[in-house]
């Protein structure tokens, strides 16, 4: 290991939760400072006000309906995307013919922001729940597809050779080597897909909805209620963190065999 300074050595010894609390504390202080300045006040309501608003709002059923609808849309779009990405990604990784047909389109559509094709989705599936789920689905699906098939493509050739010389058939190689070897990429796909789903949530709710965190933020924005906007943003962030944590726990269980760089 390289020689580190005194601060680094000290930080190395601290438990994780202390570091986290420290980070949160620092930012809350910064936030508070900004919120008392002349210009900062317009955008950032003070943290204690936000916390107060959040507690009050969370007592109301309307707030929970916003959260519930958004969560439902994100989770269903995301899970649908995952379930459909898995088989297609494996086919694309395994068969060059299939890859050569799909790959250019996947790369093409992937670079288009969801807001751009929003009207098309609305015309295609209507303004109901399905349009929101579709928008989330498209983004998450493409990200997961690309990540997983790159993983399948990158399966170590020598492992496949090792399987062959031990007598494995193509089918056995696929299920006992290619699939487990791609698992770390599947987990990465799950995390990237989640981030994309949350990103497209706000766009998805632009298709016109009476409930949802994105809708809440947009409406509040129009009335210049920055504390509600900020609260909505925070709640989406917290949702993301919780979901990410769940994926991390699953990841740890499934891919603990992996050689990882110690951090």
């Amino acid at each position: 290991m390289q020689k580190k300074g005194k601060i680094e050595a000290f930080v190395d010894k601290l438990p994780k939760w202390v570091l986290l609390c420290n980070s949160i504390l620092l930012f809350v202080i910064l936030w508070k400072i900004i919120s008392v300045t002349e210009r900062g006040r317009i955008v950032f309501a003070s943290p204690d006000l936000i916390v107060e608003t959040m507690f009050n709002e969370l007592k109301k059923p309307s707030m929970w309906r916003h959260i519930g609808f958004s969560l439902f849309r994100v989770v269903s779009g995301y899970l649908l995307a995952f379930i459909s990405a898995i088989p297609i990604a494996f086919l694309m990784g395994w068969y060059k013919s299939i890859r050569s047909i799909f790959e250019p389109w996947v790369q093409f559509i992937r670079s288009i922001p969801p807001i751009a094709y929003l009207p098309l989705v609305i015309v295609a599936v209507g303004v109901g729940e399905s349009s929101k789920i579709t928008v989330i689905f498209i983004g998450a699906f493409l990200v997961m597809l690309v990540t997983i098939y790159q993983g399948v493509l990158n399966v170590d050739e020598t492992l496949i050779k090792a399987g062959k010389v031990l007598g494995a058939s193509d089918r056995e190689i696929f299920f006992t080597i290619v699939v487990p070897a791609s698992l770390p990429f599947i987990m990465t796909a799950l995390r990237l897909g989640l981030a994309t789903s949350l990103t497209s949530l706000v766009a998805a709710e632009m298709t016109g909805a009476s409930e949802g965190l994105g809708t809440m933020i947009q409406t509040a924005g129009q009335y210049f209620q920055m504390k509600v906007v900020l609260m909505g943003v925070l709640i989406i962030g917290i949702l993301g963190m919780v979901l990410e944590k769940i994926i991390k726990i699953i990841d740890k269980k499934l891919t603990s065999w992996q050689e990882k760089r110690e951090v």
Binding site: K161, V165, G167, I177, A181, W257, Q258
Partner: protein
Amino acid sequence: MSEKVIIKNLKKVYSGRNGDTIALNGIDLTIGENEFVSIVGPSGCGKSTLLNIIAGLLEPTEGIVICDNKPVEGTGADRGVVFQQYALFPWLTVRKNIEYGLKIQKLPDENSKRGWRKLSKKEILEICNRYISMVQLEEFANSYPKELSGGMKQRVALARAYAVNPKILLLDEPFGALDAQTRTQLQQDLLETWEREAKTCLFITHDIEEAIILGNRVVIMSARPGRIKEIVKVDIPYPRDQKTKISKEFIDIKNYVWSQVYEEYLSFRK
């Protein structure tokens, strides 16, 4: 000694963007049953290519390989391979790695309608235990490859190859990445196992001492395009051990092989 592997007029051409590479050109070699043949030669002379063709992982451009009177077509359980990069399945424990080949193995069985059967759980366990203790990894049976040292990993790879009981074992620089001490230890282990369990071995190495201490014969290959330059017989009786390396016969053979390999190296540089 009966003939186990016959290689006839083997040629391999790789075609790539920069034109064709002739990796092997006119290789003829016969390996006897239970013989141990080492191969040395300059880097890039086609040693791995030859081994992969015998294993059935690559197809030759011309010529054929015959194992047990049958031409080689694809991989087969009669030929085991140990790779330099260990090639252990990282998601499986040591025990599960060794079991891998046993679980998919199909044994001929007349009583079964399909004509074959799989090994029972009990049989797999027994065989697996035997090879885990052969490579002295009892304590690590439930560890994952990432928890093992290089030498231990290669011992697992050896056990995994041995467990399915191939008659021919192909080893491509298996000890190349190991330190001198571990290397010596594994050479010794390999020699002992080879003497105990009859097998035909083809062993690729860069290390001339290693080639001689292990082999009945040492095949010296010439630089690209790969041909066989010379085959040196090692008339030193087994069991051999590290002391053999200081005997006069050994040193004479070593000097000779070395001069031949060096000559190849010089001609390649021109």
